[in-house]
C-alpha cells in the first residue's frame, strides 16, 4: 500500500496535506482498496463549518457506505467538484485527483494528534 511520507493520517484512514493554514483531505490507498469501487462521494458545501470528528463527507462503493470525519475544526473553503461525475478518482488516484475537500483550520494545534507515515504504516500492518 502506498503511504506517502509527506502526508499526515488519521486512524480512520484519511490523509491530510497541510497547506499553510489549510488542510487538504482524502482517503488513503488502504481505505480505497478496502472500500472497493467508489460510485458516489458526497462533498460538503463550500463555506460550511465542520467540527473535529464530525462527518464531513460520505463515500459509497458498490459494497458499502463510509463516513469521512473532519480531522480538524474549521471552514470548508474548496471541494473537489469533479467527483460528482468521476467518483472513481478516489480509487485511481487517492492522494491526487481523488482529494475531497480543503478546510481552513481554526486551530493548527489539532494537527498534533495525527499520525505520520511510519505510524500509519504500522497501524495498517498491525
Amino acid at each position: 500500500m502506498n503511504v506517502p511520507d509527506e502526508l499526515r493520517y488519521t486512524e480512520d484512514h484519511e490523509w491530510v496535506r497541510v497547506e499553510e493554514n489549510k488542510i487538504r483531505l482524502g482517503i488513503t490507498d488502504y481505505a480505497q482498496d478496502a472500500l472497493g469501487e467508489v460510485v458516489f462521494v458526497e462533498v460538503p458545501e463550500v463555506g460550511s463549518t465542520v467540527a473535529l470528528g464530525a462527518t464531513v463527507s460520505e463515500v459509497e462503493s458498490t459494497k458499502s457506505v463510509s463516513d469521512i470525519y473532519a480531522p480538524v475544526t474549521g471552514t470548508v473553503v474548496e471541494v473537489n467538484a469533479e467527483l460528482a461525475d468521476a467518483p472513481e478518482r478516489l480509487n485511481a488516484d487517492p492522494y491526487g485527483e481523488g482529494w475531497i475537500c480543503l478546510i481552513e483550520m481554526d486551530d493548527a494545534g489539532q494537527l498534533d494528534r495525527l499520525l505520520d507515515g511510519d505510524a500509519y504504516r504500522a497501524m495498517i500492518a498491525g
Binding site: 472497493g36 469501487e37 460510485v39 458516489f40 458526497e42 460520505e58 459509497e60 458498490t62 459494497k63 457506505v65 460528482a84 467518483p87
Partner: protein, 338 residues
C-alpha cells in the same frame, strides 16, 4: 473473499465489480455458483410431492425443462425461491438458495437428498456466452432457454440448463466437483471473464430479479413481490395456498416497485421511500446501476403507487427524488449467434 450462506466466496476477481458487470452485459462472464443447493428427488412419487410442496405447476412443463417456483410457509410467506430442473422422466434437481437447502430437504421429505457437495455449478452468462461456450461444450452451449439436459465433457457426465440470474442469456452447468477446476480453466481460456458476488448482485438488481432475504422472505408473499405468475391456482393444493388465496381476494397491502433516483448515490436496504413527503415504504435492495449511471432500488410501496409516479428516497437524511419505473431496469443484450 467474504462469508456467504456458509460458503466463502469472492466478492470480485481482479478487475472489480463494475468491470465484471459490464463484461456480462457486453460479452460473457463465468460465476462459480456452487453455493446454490441441489436437492435430488426421484421416483414415481416425486412429481406429486413437488406439486404439493411448491407453488408453480410442473404440469405446464415436462422432462428436459426448468421452472422457477416458490416454497411457501403456511402464512403465504416465501420460505425460498427455487429453480427446478426436471432432468428426466422421474428425476428432479431442486435448486434452492444456499442457506435454505436444509429447509427444502425437510419440506420435500423422505427421498429428497442433498447432493450439493458432489457437484460444482458454473453460470456462464452474457450475450456472447453461448458463442464462447460452443468452443468448449457445443451440446451444452446450444441448450435452449429453460431447457435442461445431460452432456458429456471430457468423459464425465454433466448437466446443463438454459437458466441464470443476470437478465442476460446464458447456460448453467453442473459438473462433478472434482472436475470443476478443469471446466473453469477451459471456459476462462475460451474468453469468459470471472465474476464474483458483487457483480452477481448488481446484475440481478438491474434485471429486477428478487433476492431471498430482501424482496422475498418472512412476511413477504409472491403476490406482494409481483410474482403471481409463479403460483398456480389450477393444480390443486400446496403449502401456503389458503393464506395466499385470502390475500389475493383482499388485494395486496404493498407491492414491489422499481425506483431510479436522481443521482448516482446508491439507495440502501431499509431506507424509507416518501410519497408526497410522507414515509410510505422501504427499499429492499439498492445499488449503483453501472449501465444507467444512477442509483436504482427495489422497494415495497402502497399498491396505488404506479409507474411514472415521483417519490423520494431518504438517503441518510437527504430526500432524493426518484421515479417509479417499469422493470427490468436494463433490458437484456441481444445474444450473439453461436
Amino acid at each position: 473473499m467474504v462469508p456467504f450462506g456458509g460458503w466463502v466466496m469472492p466478492l470480485a476477481y481482479g478487475d472489480g465489480t463494475l468491470a465484471e458487470h459490464r463484461a456480462c452485459r457486453r460479452t460473457a462472464v463465468v460465476f462459480d455458483v456452487s453455493h446454490l443447493g441441489t436437492v435430488r428427488i426421484g421416483g414415481p412419487e416425486a412429481f406429486e410431492r413437488l406439486q404439493r410442496t411448491l407453488t408453480n405447476d410442473l404440469g405446464r412443463i415436462g422432462p428436459g425443462r426448468a421452472q422457477y417456483t416458490h416454497l411457501l410457509d403456511d402464512d403465504g410467506s416465501v420460505l425460498d425461491d427455487i429453480i427446478v430442473w426436471w432432468v428426466d422422466e422421474t428425476g428432479f434437481d431442486v435448486m434452492p438458495n444456499a442457506s435454505n437447502t436444509d429447509r427444502v430437504v425437510d419440506a420435500l421429505g423422505a427421498g429428497a437428498v442433498d447432493v450439493t457437495a458432489e457437484r460444482a455449478l458454473l453460470a456462464l452468462q452474457g450475450p456472447r456466452a453461448r458463442r464462447l461456450f460452443h468452443t468448449v461444450a457445443p451440446e451444452a452451449a446450444a441448450m435452449g432457454r429453460f431447457r435442461v439436459g445431460r452432456f458429456t465433457w471430457r468423459g464425465v457426465e454433466c448437466l446443463a440448463a438454459g437458466t441464470g440470474y443476470t437478465g442476460e442469456d446464458g447456460v448453467e452447468v453442473a459438473i462433478p466437483a472434482e472436475r470443476a477446476a478443469d471446466l473453469w480453466e477451459a471456459v476462462v481460456a475460451a474468453g469468459f471473464v470471472p465474476a464474483g458476488l458483487g457483480a452477481r448482485d448488481t446484475l440481478r438488481l438491474e434485471a429486477a430479479l428478487p433476492l431471498h432475504g430482501h424482496e422475498l422472505g418472512p412476511g413477504i408473499t409472491p403476490l406482494q413481490a409481483g410474482l403471481g405468475w409463479v403460483v398456480s391456482w389450477t393444480k390443486g393444493d400446496f403449502r401456503g395456498r389458503a393464506a395466499l388465496a385470502a390475500e389475493r381476494e383482499q388485494g395486496v397491502a404493498r407491492a414491489l416497485r422499481g425506483l431510479v433516483v436522481a443521482g448516482r448515490r446508491p439507495p440502501r436496504e431499509g431506507q424509507a421511500v416518501m410519497v408526497e413527503g410522507q414515509p410510505a415504504g422501504q427499499v429492499t435492495s439498492g445499488n449503483f446501476s453501472p449501465v444507467l449511471g444512477r442509483g436504482i432500488a427495489l422497494a415495497f410501496l402502497p399498491p396505488t403507487v404506479a409507474v411514472g409516479d415521483r417519490v423520494a428516497v431518504d438517503q441518510r437524511g437527504d430526500a432524493v427524488p426518484a421515479e417509479v419505473v417499469a422493470t427490468p431496469f436494463v433490458a437484456p443484450t441481444p445474444a450473439e449467434p453461436i
